[in-house]
């Protein structure tokens, strides 16, 4: 038993989690490719992403144990 799940349920849950994470990763990568392509590969898109990433990182850092 793992967290109230029997072994097959735990295996399925882990598989579902892995599938969802893989799909999310593929979507994130594709979104980056698409956005940069849409702006013609201009480097300023990396500047914009840097600012957004910095804001999220500063906020999320408070959750580190």
């Amino acid at each position: 038993m793992t967290a109230g799940l029997d072994e097959p349920q735990a295996d399925r849950s882990a598989f579902d989690s892995a599938v969802i994470r893989t799909l999310l990763a593929a979507f994130a990568l594709a979104a980056g490719l698409a956005v940069a392509w849409l702006v013609g590969g201009r480097v300023i898109i990396l500047g914009v992403l840097a600012v957004l990433l910095a804001a999220g990182n500063g906020y999320g850092k408070a959750y580190s144990p």
Binding site: A25, G32, L33, A36, W37, L46, L53, K61, S64
Partner: protein, 179 residues
């Protein structure tokens, strides 16, 4: 309180941006190398964070603000110390790999004054996020350690997805530059 975080954050990052901009004048390939490095770093660390792998750990320092700096300090002095160190974010431990890609993205911008503006905005954004999180935490009871750990794992997933988005964008920018 926001100013105590934002001003050091903007100043430190703008100085870094200026250094990259000056270096890019002498080293013409530096911005392109930074774009390629961003794509590689974003893919590697993004995949690791999204996959939940404990390795590789996020690069960076393990230092924390020492209590000695705060003992005996008045509340405004404490805010100044916290703001000066935590606002820019270079010196203290950061568990998310998304922070270390920021200097690469800034270096990728290349030219002064654009690189200084982007770096300054990144510094302001990081400091504002940090200060906002601090205000959020001070306005509610502290999470128990297990809830904090779960939140940290969720943020690691979000950080990994953000890194992969940046990696995808950097790969396209690199393709346009190199072709």
């Amino acid at each position: 309180m926001f100013a105590a975080y934002l001003v050091p954050g903007a100043a430190a990052w703008a100085a870094l941006g200026l250094a990259f901009g000056v270096a890019a004048v002498e080293i013409a390939w530096l911005p392109t190398a930074a774009v390629v490095a961003s794509a590689v770093y974003g893919c590697a660390y993004g995949a690791a964070e999204v996959g939940g792998s404990p390795w590789p750990t996020a690069p960076g320092l393990r230092w924390q603000v020492p209590q000695d700096l705060l003992i005996g300090a008045s509340p405004p002095q404490r805010v100044l110390v916290w703001g000066s160190i935590l606002g820019p974010g270079f010196l203290t431990r950061n568990p998310y790999a998304g922070f270390a890609i920021l200097p690469l993205l800034v270096a990728a911008v290349g030219r002064v004054p654009a690189v200084v503006v982007v770096a300054g905005l990144a510094g302001v954004a990081h400091a504002a996020g940090r200060a906002a999180a601090l205000l959020r935490d001070s306005a509610r009871p502290q999470d128990d350690p297990f809830a904090l750990l779960l939140s940290s794992l969720r943020w690691r997933l979000v950080d990994g997805l953000a890194l992969l988005t940046v990696a995808g964008a950097a790969a396209v920018v690199a393709g346009f530059r190199i072709r």
